[in-house]
């Protein structure tokens, strides 16, 4: 058992407060740094992909998990980020201004999409974002002069300060650095004034408003922040894919992002990363398992969709707190080993608040 015993404000502000945390996260950092030299090339590419989807998943977590606004259209933000970044690179703009420009434009689109959030919420917002994602896919497909239409456009390789980052290791570290930067930024945002306002808006709009929180403003701000970060993820994804087509940013990708935050556990950044790892690796895992299955099942391509649905259903039904909730349970189990009380996490009986009057 461990008790917080702070002797100064700076103690309470530290991200890593205990020696055990320093050891664990230090080991993780070292493992991630040496991984490209130890793992086969294929897995290095997979890891960079996981970093990219983690960034997108973190962005959606800010919106859905912390501000309570469901977005079924985040793939559209990724698409806008990816296409803008690619087009800016083609204009001969450097990597950093280009990725920031892409993220800014995506943030601006997020601002526009966020405006309806002031008026509609819940299911309605889910429908607006879903429709917006389908529209974006159509527009990208039909705006041939700029986006290359359904045939797609190639992405120029990333390079920074004259160094070519298109090699597997270079790109791996690029993604890792950006992921860590985004993660640190969001952690600090979420434990500050803005993050607390987001959580207030999520838990009760009326209560937040009575506390003087500008509900509409913070809802739009959540959209802008989320879209900005998703734009960064989209730009990186462009380099990972190396060739952009509208099909790469379909409704399925939006759904996968939602799956990541729900399965990870709403309301925790750690959960966003857990979810991204699980869902991001799932296609690879399934392709590994496939040879073990009878050919009548493994030769069909709906298996992946089915497994996605099954995992989501199991989590919603049996572990609504997601992977993060399971992680916390395991942690408490080990910390108080013989004294674990099952009822610590027992789900209380809840009654649905009706969305309707009457």
């Amino acid at each position: 058992m461990r008790f917080a015993y702070d002797t100064s404000y700076s103690d309470a502000q530290q991200l890593l407060r205990y020696r055990s945390q320093w050891i664990c996260y230090g080991a993780l950092a070292i493992a991630l740094i040496v991984a490209p030299w130890l793992l086969p090339a294929y897995y290095v590419g997979e890891l960079s992909y996981l970093f990219i989807v983690s960034i997108a998943s973190l962005a959606l977590m800010v919106l859905t998990g912390f501000t309570g606004q469901v977005s079924l259209g985040h793939a559209a933000f990724m698409a806008i980020g990816a296409y803008t970044h690619t087009l800016l690179l083609d204009q001969g703009i450097g990597f950093i201004p280009s990725i920031l420009g892409a993220a800014t434009l995506t943030g601006f689109v997020g601002f526009i999409i966020g405006l309806p959030a002031i008026r509609v919420s819940g299911l309605y917002l889910a429908m607006v974002t879903l429709a917006y994602a389908m529209l974006t896919e159509q527009i990208i497909g039909r705006w041939k002069d700029v986006t290359g239409g359904f045939t797609g456009i190639p992405v120029s390789p990333p390079s920074l300060f004259g160094y070519d980052l298109s090699s597997l290791k270079g790109f791996y570290f690029l993604c890792l650095v950006i992921l860590v930067a985004v993660l640190l930024g969001l952690i600090n945002l979420m434990r500050g004034r803005t993050g607390r306002a987001f959580i207030g808006v999520r838990d009760s709009e009326a209560a937040a408003a009575t506390l003087g929180i500008w509900v509409g403003g913070y809802k739009v701000l959540a959209f802008v922040i989320s879209a900005f970060v998703t734009g960064i993820a989209g730009a990186l994804l462009a380099h990972h894919l190396q060739f952009l087509t509208p099909d790469g940013f379909s409704v399925m990708l939006s759904m996968e992002l939602v799956l990541m935050v729900v399965i990870g556990g709403l309301g925790s950044l750690r959960g966003a990363i857990f979810g991204a790892i699980l869902i991001g690796m799932l296609p690879t895992l399934i392709s590994k398992i496939k040879p073990l299955l009878p050919t009548s099942i493994s030769s069909q391509f709906g298996l992946e969709t089915f497994v996605f649905g099954l995992i989501l259903a199991l989590f919603v039904m049996f572990e609504p707190n997601g992977l993060n909730g399971r992680w916390l349970k395991l942690k408490i189990l080990f910390e108080n080993f013989p004294l674990y009380r099952r009822n610590t996490f027992r789900r209380g009986k809840t009654y649905m608040h009706s969305e309707r009057y009457r």
Binding site: V70, L135, G309
Partner: protein, 294 residues
């Protein structure tokens, strides 16, 4: 008659015919929503699955159209009952978001099962009306479109009579107004919810069987759920007459956008309507003012 007028009449008729399918879809979703407060994102996939079952019965098993349609509707109803009884009932009382996620999960599983079972190729099946056309004055209509319209009218009328005059229908109305009060009056709300799922799944099967001959039996049939949502929003969320009106309007808008607006407008029109209505006019045409309890 003027060619322009004929074209407009023709488009109107086609639009109403397609729109009546959207209206059926919207009707099914709004019934589930009103009775159980769950927005059923899996509705399109139940529809798609019934179309595949219908194809299997008609083409593979060689059963004539009418018995095959009846069997399909029964299978869909049983599927709906099963899904609510064994899946949706486990999350009763949890926030609305859980319901959305669970129906999305069900949608994925159904879609995965169908594409595992039938493969990605699209197919079609014959109906008694395939290939026949009727002339109404200068307008040419395929018989299928007329049948779709008639079937939608019959289903809607039956549903109206059922909800208005049978004990079960009144019970559904009661529980959709206040589940707790309905429960205290002796209505078995949980079983009723399962029944509503069965009923709406049967309606999905009707819509699927009607849509498949004009669209093709394909995985992408589930996209019709998005049209249904647009219809719901346009008509006013939570209103049954609104769902029908919205469906017809979306069908008309699509047909006219396809001819008079630039390329691509047809595919985007439903989504544009949905976004526009929700932003500028969230009540919709016939909707009641919706607010949130604190």
């Amino acid at each position: 008659m003027d060619a322009q007028v004929v074209q407009i009449l023709q488009l109107t008729l086609n639009g109403i015919s397609i729109g009546s399918i959207y209206a059926l879809v919207a009707l099914g979703i709004v019934l589930t929503y009103k009775a159980t407060e769950v927005l059923n994102f899996a509705y399109g996939d139940i529809l798609m699955m019934s179309a595949f079952i219908g194809w299997g019965l008609i083409v593979v098993a060689g059963i004539p159209f009418w018995p095959a349609a009846l069997i399909t509707i029964l299978i869909a109803a049983m599927l709906g009952y099963f899904l609510d009884r064994h899946v949706m009932r486990t999350i009763v009382g949890q926030p609305q978001f859980a319901g959305v996620m669970l129906t999305i999960a069900l949608a994925f599983m159904l879609r995965g099962l169908v594409s595992m079972g039938f493969g990605p190729t699209s197919r079609s099946y014959p109906t008694p009306w395939t290939g026949h056309i009727t002339h109404i004055g200068p307008i040419v209509v395929t018989d299928l479109n007329l049948v779709i319209l008639a079937a939608a009218l019959i289903v809607t009328a039956l549903l109206f009579l059922f909800l208005r005059y049978t004990q079960l229908g009144v019970a559904i109305q009661a529980s959709s107004q206040n589940q707790l009060a309905a429960y205290l009056c002796g209505i078995r709300v949980k079983r009723l919810n399962s029944f509503v799922w069965a009923l709406t799944a049967a309606m999905a099967a009707v819509a699927g069987l009607l849509l498949a001959p004009i669209a093709l039996v394909d995985i992408s049939l589930w996209f019709v759920v998005l049209k249904g949502l647009a219809a719901l929003v346009l008509g006013g969320f939570g209103s049954i007459p609104g769902a029908i009106l919205g469906g017809l309007l979306i069908g008309l808008i699509e047909q006219f956008a396809g001819v008079y607006l630039p390329d691509g407008a047809k595919e985007m029109s439903a989504q544009l309507v949905l976004i526009g209505v929700l932003i500028f006019w969230p009540r919709g045409l016939l909707g009641e003012a919706h607010g949130r309890r604190v």
